[in-house]
Amino acid sequence: MRNERDFSSAPGSGAGQGVGARLPRKEDDRLMRGRGQFVADIRLAGLQDVAFVRSPLAHARIRGIHVPERYKGSVFTAADLVGIKPIRAVSALPGFKISEQPVLATGKVRQVGELIAMCVAPTRAEAEDIGASVTLDLEELPAVYDMLKAREAGAALVHEHWGDNIFLETNYEVDISAALDAPIKVTREISTARQCMSPLEGRGVVATFDHRLDQLTLYSAAQMPHITRSGLAECLGMEEGRIRLISPDVGGGFGHKGILLPEEVCLSWLTMRCGHPVRWTEDRREHLTASSNCREHHYKIAVYADRDGRLRGIDCEATVDSGAYSSYPFSACLEAAQVASILPGPYLMPAYRCRTFSVATNKCPILPYRGVARTGVCFALELMLDLVAAEAGLEPGEVRLRNLIRPEQMPFDNITRKHFDSGDYPEAMRRALAAIDIDTVRARQCKGEADGRRIGVGVSIYCEQAAHGTSVYAGWGIPMVPGHEQASARLTPDGGLELRVGVHSHGQSMETTLAQVAHEILGIDVANVRIILGDTAMTPYSTGTWGSRSMVMAGGAVATACRELGERARRIGAKLLQHDPASVVLQNGEVRGVNGSVTLKEIAYTWYRRPQDLPADVDPGGLEITSGYKPQRDSGTFSYAAHAAVVAVDPDMGEVEILDYVIVEDGGVLVNPMVVDGQIYGGLAQGIGTALYEEMPFDASGQPLATTLADYLLPGPTEVPAARLDHMETPSPYTQFGVKGIGEGGAIAPPAAIANAINDALRPLGVEMMQSPITPHRIVEAVLAARDAERTAT
């Protein structure tokens, strides 16, 4: 199935370079030769390195920080940072409690890894030596490490003045009483582990001050440069124009590079204080334990259904461990509060209730990771649907087909008023079931395996709201609300095109796909289209790259700007051809009239170099345009996919092998299907990590226990199967070209599909796995418990 589809029939120009072309990535020429430039590659004269003294305890009062006499002047603490404000990420949702995250700790520390002092030296090793000489006098306080216990009265308090540990509680209900008499009721507790996002490149900051421009320049591995600058300006008390944020090549973001870091504020202050450039490079231990984690959800969930498997309603209480502080700009409540609105997924149901808690604990802040809350939600709901299927005596796939939103209902507003723009969800599920060949798997299960392993098959499906804009985020009232997305397009004198966009590219291939969009409109060879991004001085303001929004938003803005630019070029071209403007068209990079044509290159040359040949009434704006874009509706595009997995489980060793994996994905019109395939494979790898490997455990004193990659397991190439992909392309009715956001989906469905497959394999043994990751130890523990239970029963 993979790669067999004939993409020349795709919407848009298909073959060639425009929308729909499987074009090799422009950025790969430098990246694959090791010529990319990441923050850690930047060398500035006089650069010194910074290492931080971090809290060794999860919760403690700071009694004293002792710096040896010989290092005074190289070590800075909160007492030195006069006038620097703490990081505040407030949500306007009613009841939200505000946390203030000091950039260097004051009074007490609330997580292991919290910054206490900053040490500067010619090299990182020397800076770490200085850090090791700093001694801390800490009074340890009871750590809040379990989010469910943290909700109880009498728990230790992360922020004393709150009186409890709840950042935010939300309640949503649609007539739950209507479901309560349903003949099928399944109740469970389901949880997903705390994870680390683990981009190949960690965070990194180089800060320097340019006196000529009176400007602080910060190089930072950031996915939202303009938002970071706004946050920095607030903390530093500086005018935004006095700060330039450059985010060069970035090696993966996944949300981790969206937040404003205390380190960014610290280094900004430090370079202005010391008068030379300074650098901090996040190491893997800092990444795992200190900056941000993700995914830790707990669900108490009841699903109600009729005997025929049709859903009557869901009643859920969801808790998310938000960690110690509210991160800028997403806030501490985005993840949990989102659960309430997205839990119903792509399913029809008449009744629904969901209560959510964003809980403060003595752990590092939680951040929205690829898929945000959807991975947890999909895990919880899809595991429950398999239980409904078992109760109803139906195939799991059949229960989905009976409850999915149908194509004839589109566009559709669901029970939480999510507006589904388009799609055929049942068809995706049917194709996945056919591709995984469910009948053959069932026959194989009946025969049994010679090696004693057990075979299981699992499915899952989700919807991914992407590129949602003002109408959605205004309600959240967090520091970042996306509005119109802008792009600047400029023809250069030799006929090339420069595009400036405020989104970023950290694996998304924007340098290729945005050039394809420009090619689609203007016909300029993608080799002559330069995409400029990742620099606040060179690009229009944007909330940046997050929420699978860049292709929809920046792609739409580029298309809009290119159309306007094309219109100006067409008018100049008409004059050069001595035609009435109404009689010429722009086609394949030239303006054509009945008697001839003139290329964009000739038109550009005329504007810049031979203005004497221009018409008198030429648009004085010339061949440079900044234009803005929003989809007709900004409630988001809905892409989706059905995943199906076949696994073999060894009940005695707890080993899981993925034998087959199928993904049927509908991301609307695909600008570059090869890039989409890459996004799906990468997401799948991360989803497999969630399902089987990744976990950041804590002990009762709040110590993170996986402090290196020897303990924090990430899937490698041998753990990721060669998945088979199939695409559907239902256009969005609201966007340019009908594109939808697809960046996160690959990471959403795998944990549910794999868990369902494992449970399908082990259900005859009386085993049910409801917690991720599903490790060998957990499997064997459950198998032994089931054997004990059976022995007791007989």
Partner: protein, 278 residues
Amino acid sequence: MKPAPFGYERPRDLQATLSLLAEANGSAKIIAGGQSLGPMLNLRLVQPELVVDITGLAELKQAERSGDELVLGACITHADIEDGRTPDVTRGAMRGVAANIAYRAVRNRGTIGGSLSHADPAADWVSALAAFGARLTLRSLAGARTVAMEDFILGALESTLRPGEIVETIHVPARPASAHWGYAKSCRKTGEFAHALGAVMIDPSAATARVVMGAIDTAPIVITDAAELFGGRIAGDYKERFDARVADTLLAKAGIGSAADRHIHVSVLKRAVREAAA
């Protein structure tokens, strides 16, 4: 994650190395492949005053057959064994073990002597060599001594190596044609340290068996007279006679409290036994 300051020496012969180690009086660390010591230095888990790099010692890179045994220098890499650049007396068993140590990048640099000196209970050679019945020659300025593999490891990261002493050579006895070999481990992913490890060398015709259960939190369990594991006698039907309860009791005695962990260890050993019998 940068090491604390340390001195560095790269001696050219074993004698000079032993002198440096004697002088350092326990404050030196030997580095060969650096696959464990490197990260430990970076994490500042060890902060030696001196690091002695032995990669320049040609005499520790020798591998030769001597009578009925194989003598391997401590600086032979896992990849040397995997690729067959060393003679083999185990009829492929060592090669199979080497090929599944960590990742190829680790095997290219990591050495057999370094792995043993580090004494990580989850390391492959720690268990496999005990099952082969290997012996080690340890040398210091005071002279050389020989220890059996099963007496070398005392606990997690703990061996009988004394300050100033170095693993010089590893002596692997030839595997008789009648001896069956089985080796299995449980790793959550390719290349990861094992969470359970089973190695068996069973010779039904001689009625002998050496059985090792490794990757526990302390020294591996080495059973040199394993008859009890097979219902009191070792014969051709050993696979059928394997007694999981005996293995489970040994593991419980070694301090493994979790029944699930013990079950995985026993299952891994069972897999090794099955492989030997195959």
